[in-house]
């Protein structure tokens, strides 16, 4: 039973994540994870799940995580690309789950490009 505005807000916040995947506005930061066969073999699934979780944990509702096909850097999988709206994309290589979380914290949230992992950009 909801008996106050506060209680309604609690439910709203609890389920807010549910809709986060469904907002596709173009002005959001996009995090692309290569999920072709090569990427998956290299562990991209763990990477993408870690990134999604970290985005939720950091409450970044201006970022969406999308999987893409092969980006042509099979030797450096898993690859992760960060695109800020209106800026040129930054591509990272050999990103495991832990590095993925760090990219979310430092680059997506903090705005810092982590030079030593960059493949292109």
């Amino acid at each position: 039973m909801i008996k106050s505005l506060e209680e309604l807000k609690q439910i709203r916040d609890k389920y807010k994540d549910v809709l986060q995947n469904r907002e596709a506005e173009e002005n959001k930061i996009r995090i692309l994870v290569g999920m072709a066969t090569c990427g998956i073999a290299a562990g991209a699934r763990d990477t993408i799940n870690a990134i999604v979780e970290e985005v939720r944990n950091q409450n970044l509702d201006n970022a969406i995580v999308v999987q893409t096909g092969c980006m042509g850097f099979c030797y450096a999988e898993p690859t992760v690309e960060v695109r800020f709206p209106g800026q040129s994309p930054i591509l990272y290589g050999k990103i495991d789950a832990e590095k993925g979380r760090e990219i979310v914290r430092r680059h997506v949230k903090g705005g810092e490009v982590i030079r030593e992992w960059v493949l292109r950009g």
Binding site: I2, R22, M35, A36, Q67
Partner: protein
């Protein structure tokens, strides 16, 4: 593990009819098979509006829009898109004219000019899960109204927003609420009109199926504003899915205390009950609807008194349309100015239209008031099917009229459409091309009105019958010039003397086609010909000598043996005996037979 990808499967009536339930199962099985069920979610949403291209599956957050997804395509979407991140090319929407592939929903012209207020949650949330509605700010407007606003303030916001009734008449909603509030009575009612009788209209159904809570919440806010504790939703029995979703929604809202006693701990109580109607067009008229809920005959009564004074069980009653209620919550949350900034001077906000007929993209669109007919038909609708020529657009259903090409650039609002002799109505929009005969179209709508007239007053019961007789006479080639005068005179008389809106508007299709397409009437009456080749009795069949190769096929199918000619020589139709069955026309493989 957090869900990172969602597959939204349309669960509207249209897509369910093309088997989207099965598509949903196949997607779920496939995802389970790939052991991705914790990361990838499959859910059923309401209508996306693009029903003709259904079943629709949308993949988020990739924002990829798949059309006409069958079981095989569903398997492919899992194997390719979900598992490997590769878009399944053949199920992407293609521009009908350029064949260009447009994978993202926002790039499809059909969606580009839309602003979704009433349809905001349709195709986005699971309508059977109240938590998703709440996550999308659901019930926040009700909470705000109950805890921060007086009923007068609620009415004031709705008044200043400029919201007008979406059920057809376009009466200002705030003023209606104010009138009902001012009627003195302990007991008052809120009614939601979900009868939706216009042929071709399905916006109310889509809202109820895709976002039922938005209507319940709007009704509760109306109840608070006017001082009512009880609401009815009058919905036709032909809408089983809408009724089901409403039932689920009411149950969930009651469980959370969002309907019932002392909502949000205030002393406001409100509950809603569903009333199922048999689906008579006249029962959408508010006084007939009230009679029907009371268990009486679905016949209109004379106004005044209006329902705001004497309504259901003789108590003050506020009756609004589904789409009207769906607009209320965003207005309360975002303010009157936000809403009033959208639209034209006298018609604010958006309107949902059901685009149908000879356009490439058929479906539901929600556009700001003031969008032109041309934008809707040619930009969103993708133009006329098969590259044919636009002739007219019918708006307002059986109460409306036909608008010709010279008025395509008219910004659509209540007043402009009325000035053109048509109506906003509930938002039906049927596009006609060069192959449509306007006299026949008028006849079609009149047949509908004759069938649906409740028979209470003579002008409508008998008058419409006579109108139809004259029209039939004209389309059969027996019309005289005096008939055209009679038509007009009788139509005006019915308009002036019928009791309710049905009779008062039923001659509109005749009057508007006479106004804009008089030459077609003249052709039928004077030349005894139907320029569009629709009225079979008026058709004359000819063989074009240059094209005829003398194959004898037509002569053999002609049931009255009036086609003559030797094999390999040009054939001739003896038109005296021709019964206009059209058999030869359908048989000739050389396009050598024409009819005019």
């Amino acid at each position: 593990m957090a869900v990172r990808m969602e597959l939204l499967v349309c669960g509207g009536t249209g897509c369910q009819a093309s088997n989207s339930n099965r598509v949903l199962e196949v997607l779920r099985e496939g995802i389970k098979g790939a052991n991705l069920q914790d990361e990838v979610n499959v859910l059923m949403t309401g209508c996306f509006g693009f029903c003709e291209k259904g079943p629709i599956v949308k993949v988020m957050p990739d924002n990829i829009f798949y059309v006409e997804v069958d079981e095989d395509a569903a398997r492919k979407i899992v194997a390719e898109h979900v598992v490997k991140g590769r878009i399944v090319d053949e199920k992407i929407y293609r521009e009908p004219e350029t064949e260009e592939k447009l994978p993202e929903q926002s790039s499809i012209p059909f969606y580009r000019k839309q602003i979704r207020i009433a349809l905001r949650n349709c195709g986005k949330i699971d309508p059977e899960n109240i938590n998703e509605y709440i996550a999308a700010d659901g019930y926040m407007a009700l909470a705000k109204a109950l805890t921060e606003m007086t009923p007068e303030e609620v009415i004031d916001v709705v008044k200043r927003s400029g919201l007008r009734g979406r059920g057809g008449g376009g009466f200002p909603t705030g003023i209606k609420w104010e009138a009902t509030r001012k009627s003195n009575s302990d007991i008052k009612y809120v009614i939601c009109n979900a009868d939706e009788g216009d042929p071709g209209a399905f916006m109310d159904r889509s809202i109820l199926e895709g976002d039922p809570h938005s209507v319940l919440e709007g009704m509760a806010i109306a109840g608070y504003a006017i001082g009512a504790q009880f609401g009815y939703i009058y919905v036709r029995a032909e809408y089983p899915l809408a009724i089901h979703r409403l039932r689920v929604a009411i149950k969930q809202a009651r469980e959370l205390g969002l309907l019932g006693n002392n909502i949000f701990g205030t002393n406001f109580s409100f509950d809603v009950e569903i009333k199922i109607g048999a689906g008579a067009f006249i029962c959408g008229e508010e006084t007939a609807l009230i009679n029907s809920i009371e268990g009486g005959r679905g016949e209109p009564t004379v106004k005044p008194p209006y329902p705001a004074q004497v309504g259901l069980w003789k108590k003050p009653t506020n009756i609004n349309n589904v789409e009207t209620f769906a607009n209320v919550c965003p207005i309360i949350l975002n303010g009157a100015d936000w809403f009033a900034a959208i639209g034209t001077q006298k018609s604010k906000g958006t309107k949902v239209f059901a685009l149908a007929g000879k356009v490439n993209n058929v479906g539901l669109v929600e556009v700001p008031m003031g969008t032109t007919l041309r934008e809707i038909i040619f930009d969103l609708g993708g133009g006329i099917k098969g590259g044919k020529k636009f002739k007219a657009v019918q708006t307002g259903g059986p109460s409306g009229g036909c608008i010709p090409s010279e008025h395509l650039d008219t910004p659509i609002d209540y007043d402009n459409l009325t000035a053109l002799g048509s109506m906003m109505g509930s938002g039906g929009m049927i596009v006609m091309d060069e192959d449509d005969c306007m006299v026949n179209i008028a006849k079609f709508y009149l047949e509908f009105s004759c069938d649906e007239s409740c028979g209470r007053c003579t002008a409508c019961r008998v008058g419409n019958k006579r109108l139809l007789e004259i029209l039939t006479k004209i389309t059969e080639g027996n019309g005289e010039m005096e008939d055209l005068e009679r038509l007009r005179e009788l139509a005006e008389t019915i308009k002036d003397s019928a009791l309710c809106g049905l009779g008062q508007t039923s001659p509109n299709p005749v009057l508007s086609t006479m106004k804009f397409f008089y030459d077609e009437y003249l052709a039928h009456v004077k030349d005894k010909s139907c320029p569009s080749g629709v009225c079979t009795n008026l058709l004359k069949y000819y063989i074009i000598p240059e094209k005829c190769v003398g194959c004898t096929a037509c002569a053999r199918v002609c049931p009255v043996n009036v086609i003559h000619g030797e094999a390999k020589k040009v054939h001739v139709i003896d038109r005296e005996g021709c019964i206009k069955c059209g058999e030869c026309y359908r048989t000739c493989r050389f396009n050598a037979i024409t009819r005019k």
